[in-house]
Amino acid sequence: MKRGNLWLWSAAVLVYAFLYIPLIIVVLYSFNDSRLNAEWVGFTLFWYKALFNNTEMLLAARNSLVIALCASFCATLLGTMSGLAIHRYKLKVLPVLVFTPVAMPEILLGVSILLFFLQVLNFTLGMVSIIIAHTTFCIGFVAIIVRARLQGMDESIFEAARDLGASPWQTFRLVTLPLIMPAVVAGALMSFTLSIDDFVITFFTKGVGEPILPIQIYTMIKVAVTPEVNAISTLLMLLTLVMIIIAARLESNGSSEGNAKPHTAE
């Protein structure tokens, strides 16, 4: 088995290198004193300064933040309800509607919402349409996380609360909600991250008005590539890194409270 391990470890290291080297290059060149991403000239923070002076970019960042906050709020609310409902009741329609947007290519959702807004609602595309579109595909992620949490819990706990005198609402407030809270927060963080990063759906539903961050990046890549792109990329990576670590911490903290299903005699 030892020899096999060497092969496995080498393969693993190669794959990790494959995953990380490109990103390291992006980060590195954000500090490069050269317009071209070709060779290293010298260390500079010029591109970061340029970034903060780029009003368009700052506006785009602000818009993306607003969208992410709104979308993750709505998605967390609706997604938690979905996760609860799907786990507790034998529903046939809701699971399909909740999970399909997650499984389908994003372009389909983007295109159909564009059509819907312009054709049916006669509504100009803009921040609102983006928020709605983001919410739609984030609901599924929150629902999955919340439902997974519920599935790992001992069902009798909720019955015990009722048995000991708690009304359904009290049971939800005092028992259910505290216990799913880590999953709800993880879902919120996930939605926030997905929304900030989303390109495809935003691309179709943004209309021609406000600048949005991923679209700005896209335009820069296609039209005029400068290491400003590297700089904004690095900053975004940092942000999502922090979010993911917090989310991962919360998930593992929640499960250490002994929520694993206890074994039964039969």
Binding site: L19, L78, L109, V111, T135, K222, M237, T240
Partner: protein
């Protein structure tokens, strides 16, 4: 579970499942239906759609419903070719992802708990970076001024072969697709492999199987549900992706996604764009269905 039938229980059910259901019906089901409808309409004069009924008796042009958009698809082979190319790219990406992901997934599954969590986190982290950044990174690496290109062309030059451009080529598209989707293959695989009973391998070894046989006859068949899940999670998104060919590909490398994007934001031929989207949806549903069917029959149990 408390028995259904009490009014209280039904009210609770409505309150909890109602709002999400309503939201999704309005903003997911309705748009999907609209898209189906749109694919059967005529394109408007200045983009968009032509009205269903003519504005006046004397109006010229085409109105109402038609299957023109679908016929248009089949009128020129290039469209079918793009569809086939997309399938080929999706298939290739899935295969490469599988080959790269499998050893890593095995290693993660066999590691101790703390190391395992760290390794999984390290796989997810690149996914945390912006999607465009991951594509952009390869623009840098494959670009004509990059170290890699210089190195490659020097080597080729030594053999008397003309220099090649790595960027804006099918190769670049493939690399980009693999890079973006690799984590999606690793996670389901590792989740499956983690559940394997290692004593089965010991038993096989005890009965005379060598390393390759142990893998092929024990590990691989047991990992099939994970393989199918991972493959579906890669294949389906790749089919619809347009950003990678758009940024890393050349003019001849467009896929279905690019075609659809052009119809909506370029030529504004909505019926054709919708028809293409419907066809993509059909393709995706078939793949999903096939995957589930394969997984069930290969393992005799529910895959997901």
């Amino acid at each position: 579970m408390i028995k259904d039938g009490t009014k209280e229980k039904q009210l609770a059910r409505l309150l909890v499942s109602g709002p999400p259901l309503l939201f999704l019906i309005v903003f997911f089901v309705a748009p999907s239906l609209i898209m189906i409808l749109t694919s059967f309409r005529f394109p408007g004069e200045f983009g968009g759609l032509a009205p269903v009924t003519p504005p006046s008796d004397k109006a010229i042009g085409e109105y109402g419903f038609t299957s023109d958009a679908y016929q248009f698809f089949f009128s020129d082979f290039i469209y079918t070719e793009i569809f086939l190319k997309s399938f080929a790219v999706a298939f290739g990406t899935t295969l490469i992802c599988l080959i790269l992901a499998y050893p890593l997934a095995v290693l993660i599954a066999r590691s101790r708990k703390h190391l395992r969590n760290l390794m999984v986190l390290l796989v997810i982290l690149p996914f945390a970076s912006n999607f465009l950044i991951r594509i952009y990174a390869w623009m840098i690496i494959l670009g004509p001024e990059s170290a890699l290109s210089h190195f490659l062309n020097t080597v080729l030059g030594a053999f008397g072969i003309a220099p090649v451009t790595l960027l804006f080529s099918p190769f670049a598209v493939l690399v980009g697709m693999v890079y973006v989707h690799l984590p999606f293959m690793v996670l389901p695989l590792y989740t499956n492999l983690e559940k394997h009973d290692l004593s089965l391998l010991d038993a096989a070894q005890d009965l005379g199987a060598n390393a390759w046989q142990r893998f092929w006859r024990v590990t691989w068949p047991l990992s099939l549900p994970g393989v199918f899940s991972g493959s579906a999670l890669v294949f389906i998104p790749v089919l619809g992706m347009f950003a990678v060919p758009d940024i890393l590909g050349g003019t001849g490398d467009i896929l279905i996604g690019n075609l659809i994007k052009d119809q909506f934001l370029g030529t504004r031929d909505w019926p054709f764009g919708s028809a293409l989207s419907i066809m993509l949806t059909m393709a995706v549903l078939s793949i999903a269905g096939l995957t589930t069917w394969f997984a069930r029959s290969a393992t005799g149990q529910r895959a997901i």
